[in-house]
């Protein structure tokens, strides 16, 4: 635990206050200069804005889709075979690795891809859209891919939660005259609340750290419209070899993640 967690964190923090480690054989202490460089960089704020959009939309959509599909799979209106089929289809995105998801969607969203073909064939658009290459559509497109890739985790967890809600509660609500919508608001959601809050917090932490999907689909482009904190930090380290500035950026992300983790741990403790 000490070697795997604490030492790397301490090293990165110490790197962040030196003038340039790794490529400089005799780095010197420079205080908060690297933090100032990061915090005065315009692209850093673009990355913060993009990360907030990407994370916010992804988490909300994961929740809505996950809950919707979980309720569909939990309903008694569908037969066992139909539910089994839906279960397989809905879980599929979760079975793919990030690299496969990136390649798959790059192919489907390419200007000559199947998405444009279907939309043009259906008369919805006249000419092909450059989904991942246009400044107007790239950020929504990668956010959509992330939503597609991540909702099954919510779905499975919420389905387990739904199956744990006692039937007595619904029967009592029915006796009290509550319709389906009121049962959802007053029975289902309160019962799922602990799971929803815990998952949303974890999802925020995971999504803010998403790197591979962005890197393999857009690389942060076109221009900077899909630049995230993760890609911004990676470029500082491995394109510009400014490892100390990259460390400062990483420490800022670490602080942000620690705030989220604090709320997550506090929530978990309050449940205990």
């Amino acid at each position: 635990m000490f070697i795997l967690t604490l030492i790397p964190i301490v090293m990165v923090i110490s790197y962040s206050v030196m003038d340039n480690v790794i490529v400089n054989k005799s780095p010197e202490f420079v205080g908060f200069d690297n933090y100032i460089e990061v915090l005065t960089d315009r692209v850093f704020y673009t990355a913060v804005g993009n990360t907030l959009f990407f994370t916010g939309v992804s988490v909300v959509a994961h929740l809505v889709l996950g809950l919707s599909f979980a309720m569909l799979l939990n309903t008694r209106l569908l037969g066992t075979m139909t539910k089994a089929l839906f279960r397989v289809v809905y879980i599929l995105p979760w079975l793919f690795t990030v690299a496969i998801i990136a390649v798959l969607w790059r192919l489907m969203l390419s200007p000559n891809g199947i998405v444009n073909y279907l939309l043009i064939s259906g008369g919805l658009i006249d000419t092909g859209v450059e989904w991942l290459s246009s400044r107007d559509t790239a950020l929504p497109a990668v956010t959509f891919i992330n939503i597609w890739a991540g909702y099954p985790f919510y779905m499975i967890s919420l389905l387990a939660g739904l199956q744990g809600i006692p039937r007595d509660l619904y029967e009592a609500a029915t006796v009290d005259g509550a319709n389906s919508f009121k049962q959802f608001l007053n029975v289902t959601l309160p019962q799922l609340k602990p799971i929803i809050i815990a998952m949303a917090m974890l999802d925020v932490i995971w999504t803010t750290q998403q790197f591979a999907l962005i890197w393999m689909t857009t690389g942060g482009g076109p221009i900077n419209v899909t630049e995230m904190l993760s890609t911004y930090t990676y470029k500082l380290a491995f394109s510009r070899y400014e490892f100390s500035v990259a460390s400062a950026s990483a420490v800022i992300i670490l602080l942000f993640s620690m705030v989220l983790s604090f709320f997550y741990v506090r929530h978990q403790k309050s449940r205990d």
């Binding site: 790397p8 790794i22 000559n112 290459s133 857009t218 221009i223």
Partner: protein
């Protein structure tokens, strides 16, 4: 960064059982070439070297390009670089400034080596730090069938002909484009291979006295020309996030009439689409240009670590790889052009397309001004960001070049 720090090899460790003099010497040779060559071919060459140099053993440290880069970066910082290292020209400046690479000019001089046989050397401040062992050149590929359908009799040789051909091909149907231009920020080497190549092919330069000179007439003219192609709608869609492999795929599938690409992809194109009828030719130059054409290239370069205790033996390995026979052999298996001017790889005699490419290579000169520049990939990315804004109409060509010049100067 932890991984980088942890994955470094150590020349000292590898040679602890050795001392200079009559004792056996083990050389570490870190490179990304072995995984890209047919199984056993590089090891076979090393066995030949060991047989010719009793007492010297070569230990190959092989990995993918990116891993090798990280390993060399870490080794450079920690002073544990392998004795002999495979180098990309884009890395040399940083390593040379850190004092991690040995001065090959001195080693060549000490060994009485004839430098005239080398096609090129990468120098920093007048001293050689990298020698390109083999070169992968980037000629223009043309889809012969699309050219014929568009009524273009022969591959274009100048900019006017190229623009006309690209427009004619794009007019064939909605899914066909005249030219393909990959500008992904993840891998911004399209700036080197597909944009700056227009400058070099007309004898131009993006540098002056080793410093950025992006606002000169050569670069301005090339960028304005590409902007004209973009505005004319002849560039394949998806360019702003397109990578090199996407470019090759577009061409292989017959959706693009012309592309500038590595010769190394000829076999890949043939394998993936055996029916594609394509040819290669020299990059178009400015109208009326009669001088020698620069042809972009990428290299497998080689250098010797400053921290190596066996630099003389390390130089023997470099000398062996650059010798006429070995260099021709390595070029043959890599489908690349030799770094030794007298070596002729087998495939040139056997394949018409490669023969044409070799003629283009020999009639021009290898040109890649990013080689040896500090943070070369970052320079391409900085150019790419401003270039994309310019293509999208957010700024003029002059504004784009002025901003990029300023950004590059900051990196220098």
């Amino acid at each position: 960064m932890m991984l980088v720090a942890g994955c470094s090899g150590s020349a000292d460790d590898a040679t602890t059982d050795t001392t200079s003099g009559d004792e056996d010497v083990t050389l570490e040779f870190a490179q990304w070439w072995e995984p890209e060559l047919p199984d056993g071919s590089l090891r076979g060459l090393m066995d030949e070297f060991e047989a010719a140099n009793p007492g010297i053993t070569v230990e190959l440290l092989s990995g993918p390009y990116a891993s090798t880069k990280e390993q060399v970066v870490a080794g450079s910082a920690a002073g544990t670089m392998s004795d002999v290292v495979g180098l990309d020209g884009a890395w040399v400046s940083d390593f040379a400034k850190q004092g991690s690479l040995a001065d090959l000019s001195t080693l060549m001089s000490d060994a009485g080596y004839d430098e005239s046989q080398l096609a090129s050397q990468i120098q920093i401040d007048g001293s050689t730090y990298m020698i390109p062992v083999v070169n992968f050149v980037y000629p223009m590929f043309t889809n012969s069938d699309l050219l014929t359908q568009a009524g273009v009799a022969a591959p274009p040789t100048n900019r006017t002909e190229f623009a006309a051909a690209a427009e004619a091909i794009s007019a064939l149907d909605e899914t066909t484009a005249g030219w393909v231009l990959p500008l992904s920020l993840e891998a911004p080497n399209g700036i080197q291979n597909d944009v700056m190549s227009w400058v070099w092919s007309s004898g131009g330069s993006m540098l002056k006295d080793g410093q950025p000179d992006l606002t000169n007439d050569d670069v301005t003219s090339a960028v304005e020309y590409i902007k004209g192609l973009w505005d004319a709608g002849v560039v394949a869609p998806g360019a702003l996030t397109m990578k090199e492999q996407d470019k090759v795929e577009e061409f292989t599938n017959g959706r693009v009439g012309m592309m500038i690409d590595s010769l190394a992809h000829i076999n890949l194109i043939r394998e993936n689409n055996p029916d594609l009828n394509f040819g290669i030719s020299a990059l178009p130059a400015e109208d009326g240009f009669e001088g020698e054409r620069g042809i972009p290239y990428a290299s497998w370069g080689i250098g010797v670590a400053e921290n190596s205790e066996h630099q003389a033996e390390a130089w023997k390995l470099v000398d062996f790889l650059m010798s006429e026979k070995t260099n021709a052999e390595l070029s043959s298996v890599a489908f690349a052009f030799p770094g030794n001017t007298t070596a002729v790889p087998d495939f040139v005699e056997e394949d018409e397309l490669f023969k044409t490419a070799f003629d283009i290579y020999q009639s021009g000169f290898p040109a890649n001004e990013f080689t040896g520049l500090p943070v070369a990939e970052q320079l391409m990315r900085l150019f790419d960001e401003q270039f994309q804004l310019m293509l999208e109409g957010d700024q003029s060509v002059d504004e784009m070049l002025a901003k990029t010049q300023e950004a590059w100067l900051a990196e220098f």
